[in-house]
């Protein structure tokens, strides 16, 4: 498998406090990679830095062969990395249709001139975007809300909309920031199934999440951060067996942690 995202020696300090102290990892094309760690371990800082929403102090981020280190957020998105946010972000006063159309519009060749004259290029672009939107809406099961503004949807449904929007322009990688935090269990299952289907269709995901069960069922590879450092990396089973991870994540001895983890699962 080829590497789509390569992060090396990422460092970031907030007024002296090292949020990231040399984090390196890779994401393979077509995989689901999980990023977990206790609060303050640097998960959010990591994805904010690689997606350009925070300036990194040093390190290198390579997306599909392009060095995107230090680029501004919208240019990183154009390079093929789409992200969602921890507190869900959708255009609440626009319809689901418009939410999805906007997510794709920067990526087609149609300019405002094309739109004004309704050229073929514009029609082709709109048609393609509409087709993709329909597919994604079918997948997330929100067909009947297609023409309704997304503000009326529930929190979990908005998370699905954010996911669909991130997928609209066929990105090289989708970075999900806590996709199931604050979402009820039935909806979590739906999101899980949707992500699996999308992954089978070839989409690549990097997921930051607190929900260990969610991560271990979905991810091919799990990276564990603690205090700005990569603590461990491996398959879900390997991570489960790693006593350092359990200690850092739960702050207890392996035996008790095992038990707690089993109980939470």
């Amino acid at each position: 498998m080829s590497t789509v995202l390569q992060v090396s020696d990422l460092r970031k300090a907030y007024s002296g406090v090292h949020a990231l102290d040399g984090v390196s990892f890779t994401v393979d094309a077509g995989s689901i990679t999980g990023l977990i760690g206790p609060n303050g371990s640097g998960k959010s800082t990591t994805i904010d830095c690689i997606s350009g929403f925070q300036k990194l102090d040093s390190g290198k981020v390579v997306l599909a062969g392009n060095d995107i280190t230090g680029r501004i957020s919208h240019l990183i998105a154009r390079a093929g990395m789409m992200r969602t946010f921890q507190t869900v972000r959708v255009y609440e006063k626009l319809s689901l249709r418009d939410n999805l159309a906007i997510a794709a519009q920067q990526f087609d060749a149609a300019t405002w001139m094309d739109e004004f004259f309704r050229t073929k290029r514009y029609r082709v672009a709109v048609e393609a975007s509409e087709k993709r939107a329909r597919q994604l809406v079918d997948l997330i099961g929100l067909q009947k809300y297609y023409d309704i503004e997304t503000g009326i949807l529930s929190y979990g449904q908005k998370k699905l909309v954010a996911l669909a929007a991130a997928l609209m322009p066929h990105p090289k990688i989708v970075v999900l920031d806590e996709p199931v935090a604050g979402v009820n269990p039935t909806r979590i299952r739906e999101i899980e199934v949707a992500l699996q289907q999308l992954n089978q269709a070839g989409e690549t995901f990097l997921i930051v999440e607190h929900n260990v069960e969610f991560i271990t069922t979905l991810c091919h590879k799990v990276i564990v951060l603690d205090q700005g450092l990569k603590l461990a990396e491996g398959t879900a089973a390997e991570i489960h067996a790693d006593s350092r991870v359990l200690e850092a994540y739960l702050g207890t001895t392996p035996e008790i942690a095992e038990e707690e983890m089993r109980a939470s699962a």
């Binding site: 929403f53 501004i72 919208h74 789409m82 255009y91 626009l94 739109e115 309704i148």
Partner: protein, 315 residues
């Protein structure tokens, strides 16, 4: 937005016929103000309602437009039409220069900066006496001419105001109902999300600010030649207040809501003339009541009702 188009065209034609149905200078005069104020309010709606930038600089642009058009004719030997073009271009350039730094500041700082800009323009108009003649103003502006017609009466001038506002509103409609308009709304609602989707918000904001400025400036130019005089009172806060009230009552962000409220509210203070002493108080009461009952404007109120219906239907 698109459903209202046939109705809007019908209204435009009906308004165009106003000078034919009444010989009263008074009514036609109200019509001229209503049309021009509506255009200025629609421009503010582009900046504030669509893009979310509360700009008091519109008053400054209105003044710069008025003075530019007047000075083009009186001092620089051009005609009214050239004056309008200069007003639009100058305002566009000023807006780009001013907007470039201040659009980078936060929302509150932006509002204060635009307010300061408007006050600064008023100060220049008062104190640069060699150019603007200060408080004396520039009276007796010649009526515009075109194709051998002299637009020297209110009835004739109405056609200019009508053609101007139809053209400007059509342009703004095309802009607001396009992808660009949709992107502006997206920027207003969630700027980080816009950036995460590969769209740089700055060019859009700057373009909206500059286009709003150019149109406001041209509107100021037309209004100056309707008054046939310009002085420092042209930069009175009364105008800004009028534009803002039209936008807020109509529903910021609703294209046709603001157009309809522009026409209605410009006529309202006049319609209340039956009680000359109390009319501005009644006007104020109506405004407060409207805001109390419909905090997001008439269009916002209608929209909320529609959403409530949809929500009910889905349950």
């Amino acid at each position: 937005m698109k459903r209202a188009l046939p109705l809007a065209l019908l209204c435009a034609l009906a308004l165009g016929a106003l000078p034919l149905v009444t010989s009263s200078n008074y009514f036609v005069g109200i019509g001229v103000s209503a049309l021009i104020f509506t255009v200025a309010a629609a421009a503010l709606n582009l900046v504030y309602g669509f893009t979310g930038l509360l700009s008091f600089a519109q008053l400054g642009f209105w003044g710069i437009g008025g003075y530019t058009t007047a000075l083009t004719v009186v001092t620089f030997g051009g005609n009214f039409w050239m004056g309008l073009v200069y007003a639009a271009v100058l305002n566009g350039v000023v807006a780009l220069v001013v907007g470039f730094p201040i659009l980078r500041t936060n929302r509150h700082a932006f509002v204060i900066s635009t307010l300061t800009f408007a006050l600064l323009v008023a100060l220049v108009a008062r104190d640069w006496v060699e150019l603007t003649r200060g408080p004396l103003g520039i009276p007796n502006l010649p009526p515009p001419r075109a194709f051998g017609v002299v637009f020297d009466s209110t009835h004739k001038f109405y056609w200019i105001a009508w053609a101007f506002s139809v053209a400007m509103i059509a342009f703004l409609y095309a802009l607001c109902s396009s992808r660009i308009g949709r992107t502006l709304v997206a920027i207003k609602q969630n700027e980080p999300l816009v950036r995460a989707q590969g769209i740089s918000p700055m060019p859009y904001k700057l373009a909206a600010f500059a286009i709003g400025a150019a149109i406001t400036g041209a509107a100021g130019g037309v209004f100056t030649f309707y008054l046939r005089i310009i002085d420092t009172s042209f930069l009175d806060f009364y105008y800004m207040q009028t534009f803002l009230i039209i936008v807020i009552i109509g529903g910021a962000g609703s294209f046709w809501g603001v157009i309809a409220s522009g026409i209605a509210l410009s006529a309202l203070p006049e319609a209340l003339r039956f009680s000359a002493d109390f009319r501005m108080i009644i006007y104020g009461v109506i405004l407060v009541a409207a805001m109390y009952l419909m905090p997001s404007g008439v269009a916002g109120w209608l929209r909320e009702r529609q959403i409530a219906r949809v929500r009910k239907a889905l349950q």
